[in-house]
């Protein structure tokens, strides 16, 4: 019941709001309220899932094995909660600052519907449909602001991601051809009997599709222009909510459905992750622009997630979940803070910067700590050294940006500071992140529980 409601609510209100003029304050506020309601529904769902285990709903009252399965487990609900929280923060930010485009609130709600759907489905093709719903909304969102840079960014974003979606669809078709089913649980069971070459090819297709979403090196080429070119709220949505598709996909498909292929490719994944990490960090240090530094930092940060997935096992995967959550919150805060001026903002930005660098008490520290545990679990000193180098570089580039932005007399200092509610919102988000760092047990327990359900779902 809660599951279906959490899917229908954002979708239905999104369809309604697209038709209304989103520049009116009431429409924007309605979108915020609806996102809040979705968040509450997901929280209720999460409480239920944590108490009595995963929940399955077969749509249309079809018998089991025929109808499309919706599945709420800890991993999916955690990612859905995270994404809706990010969307809520970005929308509230835009509504307070003044929405400039009539479709913005409606598109965000449709995006929320698509994202919730893909995190809560147990069927591969259904995943593709929700995935396209979410992506189509984000293509339209990326033009938000309407300037020349936004438009160019939107064109690149759309073209590259359409290619990614196409590769994903090919792999879905391949899965059906080889296993004769699309329900994730059945696919996971039957994958073991599929010809290893075919299975590897299909798994590679999924990997490429999700890496494009996530912006991993060498599929990152589109990312800096897009993140730096779009409006701050949209950049926050893309890096904080849409990129979650990639991380979730790698976990669900990689660890849940293709564990054999994942183990086979472990070294490749770690090498790619390490390359992404170093490339992102080095270029972030070299760039002068705040938006671009954050964009390259995003490439570097997802490198950590891939390294953790490559290490695998309960420790590695838990680190991957935790790191994706923390990273997505950090990026949301930082991108939103670049759009705000005035007192309090420097403090909020500093908390985000500390979190990216992994300095306690920010939650980035807990994320890094779990990464180090994964490195030690993999018994690889080289990996631990790499993680330290990556963190050191992130301290350099984050404080370079901080200094650049907040410590010197800004030529644009004449610009009036942003309204107080906007700054208060940024600070609230920063304090929320800080609280997650000071009391990390719930996050840790959540990521461990998510990995347990992920590993329990797959055959022996």
């Amino acid at each position: 019941m809660t599951l279906s409601a959490a899917l229908i609510l954002p979708w239905a209100t999104g369809v309604l709001l697209v038709a209304l003029d989103g520049r009116r304050r009431a429409v924007g506020l309605l979108a915020v309220v609806m996102l809040l309601a979705t968040l509450v529904l997901l929280a209720v769902l999460m409480a239920g899932v944590l108490a009595d285990g995963s929940r399955d709903v077969v749509t249309g009252r079809w018998p089991e094995g025929v109808g499309i399965v919706l599945r709420a487990d800890t991993l999916g609900v955690a990612f859905a909660l995270l994404s809706v929280l990010v969307l809520l923060a970005a929308t509230a930010h835009e509504v307070i600052a003044g929405v400039r485009d009539r479709t913005f609130p409606g598109l965000v709600l449709l995006l929320a519907g698509g994202l919730t759907g893909l995190f809560l489905t147990g069927d591969m093709f259904n995943f593709y449909v929700f995935f396209e719903l979410a992506m189509t909304a984000s293509y339209a969102l990326s033009t938000y602001g309407g300037g020349r840079r936004q438009l160019r960014a939107a064109l690149i974003f759309t073209a590259v991601n359409l290619l990614g979606s196409f590769i994903f669809l090919l792999s879905v078709a391949g899965t059906y051809r080889t296993t004769g089913t699309l329900a994730m649980q059945d696919v996971a069971e039957r994958m073991a009997t599929v010809d290893p070459n075919a299975a590897l090819l299909i798994a590679t297709g999924f990997f490429i599709a999700f890496s494009v979403k996530l912006g991993l090196f060498p599929f990152h080429f589109w990312l800096p222009t897009v993140y730096a070119g779009s409006a701050p709220a949209v950049a926050a949505i893309l890096s904080g909510a849409v990129a979650n598709i990639g991380a979730y996909g790698l976990l669900r498909f990689g660890a849940g459905i293709f564990p054999v292929e994942l183990r086979l490719a472990a070294v490749t994944l770690i090498v790619l992750g390490a390359a992404s990490l170093l490339y992102g960090a080095v270029l972030a240090v070299a760039r002068g622009d705040v938006g671009e530094t954050l964009a390259y930092s995003a490439i570097g940060q997802v490198g950590y997630v891939l390294v953790a997935i490559g290490v695998g096992g309960p420790v590695g995967l838990a680190a991957a979940v935790l790191y994706s959550v923390v990273n997505s919150l950090n990026k949301t805060l930082l991108f939103l803070a670049t759009g705000v001026r005035g007192a309090l903002v420097a403090g909020a930005f500093a908390i985000g910067a500390l979190s990216v660098a992994g300095v306690p008490p920010a939650p980035g520290f807990v994320g890094k700590l779990e990464m180090f545990r994964a490195g030690i679990a993999a018994d690889s000193p080289a990996l631990v050294v790499l993680l330290v180098v990556g963190s050191a570089l992130s301290v350099v580039y984050m404080f370079q940006v901080y200094q650049h932005r907040f410590w010197r007399p800004d030529p644009a200092a004449a610009v009036a500071p942003s309204p107080l509610p906007l700054r208060a919102l940024t600070m609230t988000l920063a304090l929320l992140i800080l609280a997650a760092g000071l009391w990390p047990e719930p996050l840790l327990a959540l990521s461990n529980s998510a990995v347990d359900t992920l590993l329990a779902g797959r055959p022996g």
């Binding site: 293509y139 339209a140 840079r149 160019r152 064109l155 699309l182 760039r287 002068g288 671009e292 650049h404």
Partner: protein, 72 residues
């Protein structure tokens, strides 16, 4: 039709249809976007579109030089 006779699998057909509809929608969106780009930039040439990015790069370079002078 006799019982036990071979029938075609309806699922791929349903999937292909759904994928077609989604594909059509995304292509329409992409075309709308390209149309908007042509209206705003007055060009569809990739090189001319890239020129804008080069300008942005040049601005960044100026800023970097200014930073270095300030630091020195």
């Amino acid at each position: 039709m006799q019982p036990g006779e071979a029938v075609s699998d309806p699922l791929p057909q349903a999937l292909a249809l759904t994928a077609l509809v989604i594909g059509l929608a995304t292509v329409a969106l992409l075309l709308a976007l390209v149309h908007r780009v042509v209206l705003v930039f007055r060009t569809a040439e990739r090189d001319e579109l890239a020129a804008g990015e080069a300008e942005h790069e040049a601005d960044l370079e100026v800023e970097r030089l200014a930073d270095q002078e300030e630091a020195g």
